[in-house]
């Protein structure tokens, strides 16, 4: 067993990421079996030494060699990767089953089948290795084969293709014109005679007059335009009611829709007061 060197403790191929069956940090359990990639690899190497076709390999002999190998390895170093030990245990079992007559009960798997299945796995591994070798023998890019060193490249010129339908166009136009129409609507600014203005004017009027004066006449004296008359009348009327309430003026109307009369509040005559 020329390759039997199990003393170099460089880390096993499956170090690092593989934490499924070996706890990380358990470096002691990793053994470099001189580059063997696991028990199957080792088995294949041992099988190769039988120098027969894998389909006619003696699994029994193989199991024995493997167990010997593991034993030897353990003599040198006790720490063996779990994979190897699991395989050793399984092979020991297989060996015993192959040597012993088949048990009467058919519950346990047929050892011949188990052996055939192992041989099959070995053939499969050997075949994929051969395939990998064939693959790597092929001329490879940037090794034997080369692409064009300086390709110009194909340009794709972006030429946007605009899309719009007549309906889009017309509705855009209509929307725009309609918006314009609405935005151009102008309201006439209405002149409003405010209550404050009306009251101020009314106060000025009655300040001079102790006689009844017609409200409308009074409005006209302010030279209101017809457009202003309504707002002046409304505001003045409201203001006058307010001033009546405050006891500053008297207001009189002879009948419905007759002119309104206004004058400064008179001191009530004593006689009436006496009544």
């Amino acid at each position: 067993m020329a390759r039997q060197k199990v003393d170099s403790l460089t880390e096993f191929e499956t170090q690092g990421g593989d934490t499924r069956d070996r706890a990380s940090g358990d470096a002691d359990f990793r053994v470099d079996l001189d580059g063997y990639e696991g028990p199957l690899d080792l088995l294949l190497e041992l099988a190769r030494r039988q120098k027969v076709d894998l389909s006619r390999i003696s699994i029994l002999a193989l199991a024995e060699q493997y167990l010997e190998f593991i034993e030897a390895a353990q003599r040198v170093r006790l720490e063996l990767a779990a994979d190897y030990l699991v395989m050793a245990a399984w092979l020991a079992y297989l060996k015993s089953r192959l040597l012993l007559p088949a048990p009467p009960k058919g519950e346990e798997p047929d050892p011949v089948e188990l052996a055939a299945s192992l041989a099959q796995r070995l053939r499969r591994l050997q075949a994929i290795r051969a395939a990998a070798a064939l693959l790597m023998e092929r001329p490879q890019l940037d090794r034997e084969l080369f692409f064009r060193g300086a390709p110009e490249g194909l340009d794709i010129v972006n030429a946007p293709l605009y899309r719009a339908s007549l309906f889009d166009l017309l509705s855009a136009y209509a929307r725009q014109r309609q918006k314009q129409v609405l935005s151009h609507v102008s309201f006439k600014t209405r002149q409003v005679w405010s209550l404050a203005e009306a009251r101020e004017a009314l106060e000025r009027l009655i300040g001079r007059s102790v006689e009844w004066s017609a409200l409308d006449d009074y409005l006209l004296t302010w030279g209101a335009t017809p457009a202003q008359t309504r707002t002046m009348r409304a505001s003045t009327f409201s203001a006058s009611l307010e001033m009546v309430r405050e006891g500053l003026i008297d207001l009189r109307q002879d009948r419905a829709f007759a002119p309104l009369w206004v004058r400064r509040k008179q001191e009530p005559p004593p006689a009436i007061a006496a009544e």
């Binding site: 794709i156 605009y162 166009l169 209509a174």
Partner: protein, 245 residues
């Protein structure tokens, strides 16, 4: 004829080599040297010097002849072997430049601003920027008019005979084609637009939609674009094709 022009562009030696090739087939050794040069130049990331090739060829190989033959070989192909400053490289044939550039047509939707501007240009043409802005009520961005000119649906018509001589815009034939109109007067009028439900009833009296026209002839109040700088229009930054119109 185009072929002839191409040839003129090329080194005369190439034609000589074609003749040479016709007269005498290169022998096996020469063909192998040609293959080596071909592969070397092809794979090189930079134009390849003759010295470099000599190093890789069998001793005593006639590099010049091999390259001349090779160049002749490629002369009628889609790829040419060319020499630049004593270095050799492959280059796609100049007459095929158009093939290497493919236009990728990305369907794009016009922005709302562009669509509205286009519609105003269509109905109100010839329209100036100020007129468009007046109708839209917002300033017209340069980008919007650029896009419209890029579509090829809007063109510069002329200038308004007015202070500042503003550029007038109008639609093009491809505008008609795009929107399936035989002529610009086929654009629907107010009644049709109303009928299509595009206007609601609240239109003031006197509101109208102009009868559009896109005669190539300038209107009375237009004058030719002339060569006055277009700084008042958007044309200053236009792509060349468009401003040439």
């Amino acid at each position: 004829m185009a072929k002839k022009q191409q040839k003129a562009l090329f080194d005369l030696a190439a034609q000589d080599a074609v003749d040479l090739l016709a007269r005498a087939r290169p022998d096996e050794a020469m063909r192998e040297n040609m293959r080596i040069c071909e592969a070397l130049i092809f794979a090189s990331t930079e134009p390849l010097s003759e010295e470099e090739m000599v190093k890789r060829l069998p001793d005593g190989a006639d590099l010049s002849a091999a390259l001349a033959y090779l160049k002749a070989d490629y002369f009628t192909r889609g790829v040419h072997l060319v020499r630049v400053a004593k270095k050799w490289m492959f280059r796609t044939a100049p007459d095929l430049a158009w093939v290497l550039q493919r236009e990728k047509k990305d369907a794009k939707k016009l922005s709302r601003a562009a669509l509205e501007t286009l519609a105003i240009v269509a109905y109100h043409q010839p329209a100036t920027r100020a007129e468009i802005e007046d109708i839209r009520g917002v300033a017209l961005s340069k980008g919007t008019m650029d896009v419209l000119l890029e579509t090829g649906w809007v063109r510069l018509r002329g200038r308004r005979r007015a202070p500042g001589r503003p550029v007038t815009y109008g639609t093009t034939e491809s505008f008609l084609a795009q929107f399936g109109l035989e002529q610009i007067s086929d654009l629907p009028g107010l009644d049709e637009l109303k009928g299509a439900g595009l206007f609601d009833g609240r239109l003031p009296k006197g509101f109208g939609v102009p009868q559009p026209r896109d005669d190539a002839d300038l209107t009375e109040d237009e004058e030719p674009l002339g060569d006055q700088p277009l700084e008042q229009s958007f044309a200053a930054d236009l792509p060349e094709e468009t401003s040439e119109e």
